[in-house]
C-alpha cells in the first residue's frame, strides 16, 4: 500500500479484497503525516485516537459482511475552522488556541458516518482570512510542490496535505476563493459547491452569506464522492438547501461533447503569462473533446473586489464580536474592567489581518456610512449575480483562470494587503453569485508550478461541473 497515491476507489477495492484493513490505512497515513509535517506545517494536530476508533469500526463492519459506507477507511483532513468534538479547533488564531468545541460540524459527522477517518486538523489563515496561509498564528504553511512558496489560502493546509498525499481528501472552506486558489497553487482539485449545498453548522462563521465548506482531492471522482457524502439539507443550518443531492459521480460518466463553454473575456484580459498559456491549452483540449467555445462578457467583474471586501468585512466584524473574553477560552491577563476585558482580549487575541477586516467592516457599517458602503455593495452584488445568470442563458459552463499567477514566495506579498486582495479577482465573483465553482489542475508553468483552471456552472448544477471536469481529466487536462 502506497498511502500517498491512494484514492477513494483504490481504498474501497483494497478493503473489499482484504488486501489491507482500514486500521492499516489509518496507521500508514498517520505515520506519513507525522514524518512529512515538519516540511510543510500543514497539520496543526493529528487525531490518531479518533481516526483509529473509526477505522476499527469500519473493519468490524466489513468483518460482519455489512456495507462500511462510501468513505470507508479514507483518511480525511479537516480545516481547523471546522469544529470537531473534543478536538481543539483553533481557526489559526491565538484567540482559540485552547478551544475544544463540544460538537461536530455536520460535514464532519456525515463523513465519519460514511466511514471516513478524521486524521488531523489543518493549518489555515486566521479565521479563514487570507490568500497565502501566512496569517496563521501557528506559522505559515509551505507548498509541498515548492517549499519556498505559499500553498495559497485560506485553506492552505487542506490543499497541501492532499498534494503531499498524507490525506486522501480533505475539507476546506471558501468565502472568496479559499478552496479554489490553494487547490490551484498545490495542483489538486478544489470544489466550492453552491451556497447552501453543504451545511455550515460547525463552520466557524467568517462571512455568513459567503461561507462554504467544500472538498479537496487528487482526482475529480474523489471530490465528487466526498461532496455527495456531506451535501444536503441540515435542519441545524437554516440556509442549507432543500434541493435533493444529485448523483455527482454518476454525472461524471457522460462525455462533454456538445457542452457550450463560455470564456469570460474580462478574465483573460491581461493574462499574458504562463497561466494564460496553460489556460489556452486547456481550452484547446476542451474543444478537441467536443465542447463548443464562445466568448462571454461579465461586465461587472471589475467591481467585484470592492463589493466583496465590503460585504465580507461587514459580516466578519459582526460574527467576530462573539470573541469577547467571556466564552471562548482566551481573556487578556491585563484586563481589570469589563471594557478592558473586551478591548485587550481582542487586541491581544487577533492577528493583523483579522483586525484589519474587523476595522474595515465596523467602519462600513458605522453610522452614516451604511448606504454608501454596505447597501451599495449589496446592489453591486446583485449586478454581479445577474451577469452570471445572463451568461448561463447562453452557455452550460464558464471556464476561467483561478489566480492571475501561480504560487508566490513566502513573504512576497504579505506587506501589501490591497495587492493581496486584488489577486482574488477571479474567484470572488463566483462566491458573490453563490454558484458552484471548482479548480482543476491544468498543467504547470515553465517553473513547474501548478496552474488551475476554474469551472463555474449554474446554481445546483454540480453535475454539469463534475461532468466537464471529469471529461477534462480523462482527456489528460491535468498535465496539459
Amino acid at each position: 500500500m502506497d498511502v500517498h497515491t491512494l484514492t477513494i476507489a483504490s481504498i474501497r477495492a483494497g478493503l473489499a479484497s482484504r488486501q489491507f484493513t482500514a486500521a492499516e490505512v489509518c496507521e500508514a497515513a498517520l505515520r506519513l503525516a507525522e514524518a512529512e509535517n515538519s516540511k510543510t506545517n500543514a497539520y496543526l494536530r493529528l487525531c490518531p485516537e479518533r481516526a483509529m476508533e473509526t477505522a476499527r469500526k469500519v473493519d468490524a463492519t466489513i468483518t460482519a459482511g455489512e456495507d462500511p459506507g462510501p468513505l470507508a477507511g479514507v483518511p480525511v483532513a479537516v480545516k481547523d475552522v471546522i469544529t470537531t468534538r473534543g478536538i481543539t479547533t483553533t481557526c489559526g488564531s491565538k484567540m482559540l488556541e485552547r478551544w475544544v468545541p463540544p460538537y461536530d460540524a455536520t460535514a464532519v459527522e456525515r463523513l465519519e458516518a460514511a466511514g471516513g477517518l478524521v486524521i488531523g486538523k489543518t493549518n489555515c489563515d486566521e479565521f479563514a482570512m487570507g490568500s497565502s496561509n501566512e496569517n496563521s498564528a501557528f506559522g505559515p504553511v509551505r507548498n509541498p510542490v515548492a517549499l519556498d512558496r505559499v500553498p495559497g489560502g485560506s485553506s492552505g493546509g487542506s490543499a497541501a496535505v492532499v498534494a503531499q498525499g498524507t490525506a486522501t481528501v480533505s475539507l476546506g472552506s471558501d468565502t472568496g476563493g479559499s478552496i479554489r486558489q490553494p487547490g490551484s497553487f498545490c495542483g489538486v482539485v478544489g470544489v466550492t459547491p453552491t451556497y447552501g449545498r453543504v451545511s455550515r453548522y460547525g463552520l466557524v462563521a467568517f462571512a455568513s452569506s459567503l461561507d462554504h465548506i467544500g472538498p479537496f482531492a487528487r482526482n475529480v471522482g474523489d471530490a465528487a464522492t466526498l461532496l455527495e457524502t456531506i451535501a444536503g439539507r441540515d435542519p441545524k443550518d437554516s440556509t442549507s438547501a432543500f434541493a435533493p443531492v444529485a448523483g455527482y459521480t454518476e454525472a461524471m460518466k457522460q462525455d462533454a461533447r456538445g457542452m457550450r463553454i463560455g470564456l469570460p473575456t474580462e478574465y483573460f484580459k491581461g493574462l499574458a503569462n504562463d497561466t494564460g498559456d496553460q489556460l489556452a491549452k486547456g481550452v484547446d483540449l476542451l474543444k478537441s473533446i467536443g465542447c463548443e467555445i464562445v466568448d462571454i462578457s461579465l461586465p461587472h467583474t471589475e467591481y467585484a473586489i470592492a463589493c466583496y471586501y465590503i460585504i465580507c468585512t461587514a459580516e466578519a466584524s459582526s460574527n467576530l464580536a462573539r470573541y469577547d473574553g467571556v466564552r471562548y477560552t482566551f481573556r487578556s491577563e491585563r484586563a481589570q474592567t469589563m471594557a478592558e476585558m473586551y478591548q485587550l482580549t481582542r487586541g491581544e487575541g487577533f492577528g493583523a489581518e483579522v483586525k484589519r477586516r474587523i476595522m474595515l467592516g465596523t467602519h462600513v457599517l458605522s453610522s452614516g456610512y451604511y448606504d454608501a458602503y454596505y447597501l451599495k455593495a449589496q446592489k453591486v452584488r446583485a449586478l454581479i449575480a445577474r451577469d452570471f445568470a445572463q451568461a448561463f442563458e447562453k452557455v452550460d459552463a464558464l471556464v476561467a483562470p483561478v489566480s492571475p499567477f501561480p504560487a508566490f514566495k513566502l513573504g512576497e506579498k504579505i506587506d501589501d494587503p490591497l495587492a493581496m486582495y486584488l489577486s482574488d479577482i477571479y474567484t470572488i465573483t463566483g462566491s458573490l453569485a453563490g454558484i458552484p465553482c471548482m479548480s482543476v489542475p491544468c498543467g504547470t508553468t515553465s517553473d513547474s508550478l501548478p496552474v488551475g483552471m476554474q469551472i463555474l456552472t449554474r446554481h445546483f448544477d454540480e453535475p454539469g461541473m463534475f461532468r466537464l471536469a471529469a471529461a477534462f481529466e480523462r482527456a489528460g487536462g491535468f498535465t496539459v
Partner: protein
C-alpha cells in the same frame, strides 16, 4: 484621504479593539488605500437595483420553519468548559457596577 488616525481610534472603540500606536498608524494607511479602491463602486448607477442580501435561486416551497419543540442541549458543565473564568455554574466577568 478617506480615513485618518482619529477616525481609526473611533472605529476601534466601536469594535472594542485595543490597538497600539503603531497599529493605528498602519491601520489608517491600509484602510485608506482599501477605501480609495472601494470608491470605484460609485462609478455604477445602482438606483434601480434591488440589494442582494442573500444568494437567490429558483427553489420550491420549503419547510424552513419547524415546530417549536425543545431538543437536547449542552449541560451546564459542557457549556462552561471553554470559559476563561467560571464559578457556581456561571460565566464570571469583572465587576460592572461599583457599589
Amino acid at each position: 484621504m478617506k480615513i485618518g488616525e482619529q477616525e481609526v481610534r473611533y472605529v476601534a472603540g466601536l469594535a472594542n479593539l485595543s490597538l497600539s500606536g503603531a497599529e493605528i498608524a498602519r491601520m489608517a494607511h491600509d484602510l485608506d488605500e482599501i477605501l480609495t479602491h472601494i470608491d470605484k463602486l460609485n462609478e455604477l448607477d445602482t438606483s434601480a437595483v434591488e440589494p442582494m442580501a442573500q444568494v437567490l435561486y429558483e427553489a420550491g416551497e420549503t419547510a424552513t420553519l419547524r415546530e417549536d419543540v425543545t431538543g437536547a442541549s449542552f449541560d451546564n458543565e459542557t457549556a462552561l468548559a471553554n470559559a476563561p473564568l467560571a464559578g457556581a455554574g456561571q460565566f464570571k466577568v469583572p465587576k460592572i457596577i461599583e457599589r
